[in-house]
Symmetry: C2
Subunit: 230 residues, 2 copies
């Protein structure tokens, strides 16, 4: 009923026809589909077509679309080559590296974020990643709970920052669509916003993600210092 494991998982001597698909193949194909045709094209039918298979077939490998999306996310996490706690440097350098890496991934592949905010729960790779992120703070005097707080805070910041980076810029000013008359009047009554937007557009691309990350990590540093020698 809820096959979250591939059909021929354990051994190869179950009766019935050989499975022509696998969870891994489905995940890779789904990623390719989302990458090339957008996340809106990631439908069961299109995926089945790409795999030269009837739509219903997918349901022997995946319990539904939610499960598929979770599988895709978990596969992507598993494709990262280095876990956080294996990175070089201090805890702060490790966090900066992992955060920057995640942020790059989100910005380069915006469709991933759309999934991240819809999918709930986590797969094995996500769990492994989270555990590794916790180990980054082994040297510091933070408690178990504080470590989890910090990791989730940073992770949440990265996601929130990435989605704003992709959305607000062109959307607020009306980049793609022509600005509605309503919007024009609203902007007319928002002088500070217009000033800030034009200032940003004029100058070079100051990386406000790194700016925010520095702010956040400085705050974490304070907590660590306080916890280290009370």
């Amino acid at each position: 009923m809820r096959p979250s494991t591939s059909p021929g998982a354990g051994r190869e001597h179950t009766p019935g026809p050989r499975p022509r698909l696998s969870r891994e193949l489905i995940a890779e194909t789904a990623i390719g589909l989302a990458e090339h045709e957008g996340v809106r094209a990631l439908t069961m039918r299109r995926l089945a077509t790409r795999l030269s298979v009837a739509p219903g077939t997918l349901y022997t490998y995946v319990s539904g679309k939610d499960d598929l999306e979770l599988l895709v996310l978990d596969t992507l996490v598993g494709q990262q080559d280095r876990l956080p706690h294996t990175l070089p440097g201090t805890w702060r350098e490790q966090v900066e590296a992992w955060a920057k890496n995640d942020w790059d991934g989100y910005v380069r592949h915006p469709w991933v974020m759309e999934l991240r905010f819809r999918v709930s729960g986590g797969g094995p790779n996500m769990i492994a990643w989270l555990d590794s992120a916790l180990r980054v703070f082994e040297g510091t005097g933070l408690s178990d709970r504080q470590r989890l707080d910090v990791v989730e805070t940073v992770d949440g910041f990265v996601r929130g920052s990435a989605v704003l980076h992709l959305r607000s810029d062109d959307a607020m000013t009306g980049g793609a669509t022509a600005p509605t008359p309503e919007m024009r009047t609203a902007l007319g009554e928002a002088p500070d916003l217009v000033a800030a937007l034009t200032a940003r557009a004029a100058g070079p691309t100051t990386d406000r993600f790194e700016f925010g990350l520095r702010c956040l990590l400085s705050g974490v540093q304070e907590v660590i210092d306080a916890a280290d020698r009370p």
Copy 2:
């Protein structure tokens, strides 16, 4: 073709039947629908049924579902009773109040977040809110661009933190659904994570949102101090 304004907007003496609906009524009904039956029940047809109207009728008030979702979000923002810069206290107290308020809203009405991460662009109320948030930093020595950076950083943090608060807790440990055997083995190889989760479950609900917010604002404070007297 793209009616982002209500039909009988300007005056009441245009020919044709009196509009039985309005953008406001549609927004309120949509909010009620999402609130009571979940955001997945917010479909054009159900909304039309609730309004005792044919599905196609909605398209004279709203250009499509994207526009409807944006309208819902903008309406919610407009329902907030106080704009950030009208709150009492220092910039830091104002930011804390607005961030906490937003966070409460997201946690209390999780369906709002699901929209926030799908909808791009902003309506008049969102623009007004953003402008108000910028004015919070009028006393500080921050530049226009820095102010926008800070506001977006805080806003992104709030969203990211809220989505994690709603997702990771019960989902990771398998709150709703029974934990898959795969998950159990994955958790077996993640001792730090298990320790942190149990520690969190055992103790009282330490508000890790406020923890992260304090971290972030401490970092912002540093930047302001640096900008104030160089």
